[in-house]
Symmetry: C2
Subunit: 349 residues, 2 copies
DNA sequence: AATATAATATCAAACGTTTGCAATCGAAAC
DNA sequence: GTTTCGATTGCAAACGTTTGATATTATATT
């Protein structure tokens, strides 16, 4: 049925070793025979079998990308970044979407290893640094090149790349404070997510810096979905002394928050400020104009892939590489301008 | 380094044929030996080599998904759908994002075949039915199970699934007409895209049904991106006799259109109506509220994968299967309510 | 006790490549 | 006319599985 190297050898009248060498531009083949073989291969419509090749080469030119939520526009940009560099280097990527499901994450990781991918990029659905060891020990058991995206290695044994989430949370909150909001709440996503908990820490740190007391009732977490943002906003507003601003775990949550606010007829930014995180493309749309913290998504995807590919090809200098990017505050229309002489001085962090 | 079936055989003191059968729950193995082997495998941390298995089985439990734009929220939902059913059936999916680049599409298709995927789901970047044969002959040369997503087979040789784009274009335009808009323009995406040209045909057909003349100046095409929608809206507005409504090739374009309109201070829906296509999640957000044509994205992804898997496993009744779903008009806030007694009768299509 | 039968285990080929080593072949060198 | 050398080419093993055919063993049957 399918044509193999042996078929070519038969019609080109040579051994299949020669065919292999000719087709792969290996040295030591007569130019004419090479040409003859190439012609025959073309005529027969030969398509090399990457599976067979992978078996002997112990390399599949395949990488795995494990992400928690392909529907959040943050991740497609990442995926595009890794995919672009992967394909530029002749690699193909397995997409694994976990829906924040740890079990699924484990299943995928196992499958990827069985499929003998050359490396893995993963956004773990839980915080490796705080998780109890047993849960996520498996990540440390992976001997493949692996880069952790937006999360840190629990052992320090893997490269990772992320934005400085703590700082991101800090400048977001600082901005709210400077814009004159005082009762600032936090609506996070998954409590167990690394990025989420770092952002929360940044939030707390900013409040502390400005000597604003931290109110535990103002700190909420649930999901990285807008429904969750909507619901938590509802509950925050029903507090006896509700907040006048909120910093959210990501932009999607913020959209839910905005929806709630609009429904309640609360004016943004006049009476209520909101700052998101990620700067997904939709946050910049004129109807939304969400103030947020920017992550260079496509670039981060590219970087992650480059780091991984270097590691795969043994080019990385001494293994583990930690890349931390600077977050950037994007001021738009969901926070008011600083025009209150509040006379506040930021304490050093 | 890595432990193989032979290692297990050695310590379990049996042949590796036995190990294989034991681990795969094949019959004819003594319960005790099986248990012993399973134990050994566990102790050694054995991970089956899917590459080797794929070579002998001629099956990789892998499918390819080729889409033109992972960043358009339409496609991540699709991807999630196919991935969910794939993973439920023990399949892994290669994600291939072409950025509407035909060359890239070809490269990917070749790579997928070389990697011996069991099947492919593809949204072709050009219209197969109208493309000149040579260009897209390659799709017909693919002997793998293949389902065409949102596009039709040029030969009828492949299954496909899509929404009725013609009808979608028709009801979108009809709605604009019934809402009282009269100078209705079309801002499409890729002219060569199947779905786009079908939607355009539907648009024309609706105008004709209502005896509204078709103005070629009102028919524009470029990209499926919002920048393109913005730019084309600009140019339409600079026409001596500009339109008062627009039907766009997809929601993303509509967002660009809306942005332009807002910038120009044109009131929507009072003075200008816009209808999109796809009903991506963001179209429903309170700040956007775009009237559009709905496609059940996740479901379509699931269906595509199910059809493909059936074909792979030889379950499909007699090969080619054509699935065409009904589009649904979602009326929101970018078109005004029908409150003009225009006294118009729809001609039968 | 000898034979038939069923249960279990092994052998070896196959899947389609790559590659170290050996073999061949001309021609150049002596 | 040998010998030697370099350029080509071929051989065969290896990668890690699966599986049909066969061999072995234990049990049941007479």
């Amino acid at each position: 049925m399918t044509v193999t190297i042996k078929d070519i050898a038969r019609v080109a009248n040579c051994s299949y070793a020669t065919v292999s060498r000719a087709l792969n531009n290996k040295p030591g083949i007569n130019a004419q025979t090479r040409q003859r073989i190439v012609n025959v291969a073309g005529q027969l419509g030969y398509q090399p079998n990457a599976i067979a090749r992978g078996l002997v080469m112990q390399r599949t030119h395949t990488i795995g990308l494990v992400i928690p939520d392909i529907v959040n526009p943050f991740f497609p940009e990442i995926a595009r970044g890794v995919e672009d560099v992967a394909s530029d280097h002749g690699y193909t990527v397995f997409l694994c979407n976990t829906n924040w499901d740890q079990t699924k994450e484990n299943v995928y990781l196992k499958a990827l290893q069985e499929k003998r991918v050359d490396g893995i990029i993963i956004t773990p659905s839980i915080d490796l640094s705080s998780a109890n060891g047993t849960d996520y020990a498996y990540l440390n058991e992976i001997s493949l090149p692996l880069v952790i995206f937006s999360g840190q290695s629990s052992t320090g044994g893997h490269s990772y790349i992320e934005i400085d989430n703590h700082r991101g949370g800090f400048i977001a909150t600082k901005h709210l404070i400077e814009a004159g909001y005082r009762r600032i709440a936090f609506i996070g996503g998954r409590e167990s997510s690394h990025s989420n908990s770092e952002r929360l820490k940044g939030y707390k740190s900013a409040l502390t810096s400005y000597e604003i007391p931290i109110d535990d009732n103002f700190i909420t977490n649930h999901d990285f979905y807008s429904e969750s943002g909507y619901a938590l906003m509802e509950s925050l507003l029903s507090l006896p002394n509700p907040p006048d601003a909120v910093f959210t775990g990501n932009d999607i949550i913020a959209l839910g928050v905005l929806e709630c606010l609009q429904k309640r007829g609360i004016r943004v930014p006049e009476d209520f400020g909101v700052v998101g995180f990620d700067n997904i493309i939709f946050s910049g749309y004129p109807q939304i104009q969400l103030t947020t913290i920017s992550q260079p998504q496509y670039l981060m995807g590219k970087l992650a892939a480059e780091i991984l590919l270097n590691e795969i090809n043994g080019l990385s200098t001494k293994g583990v590489r930690k890349t931390i990017l600077e977050p950037e505050l994007i001021i738009r229309k969901t926070t008011r301008k600083l025009n209150f002489p509040y006379n506040i001085r930021e304490k050093s962090r």
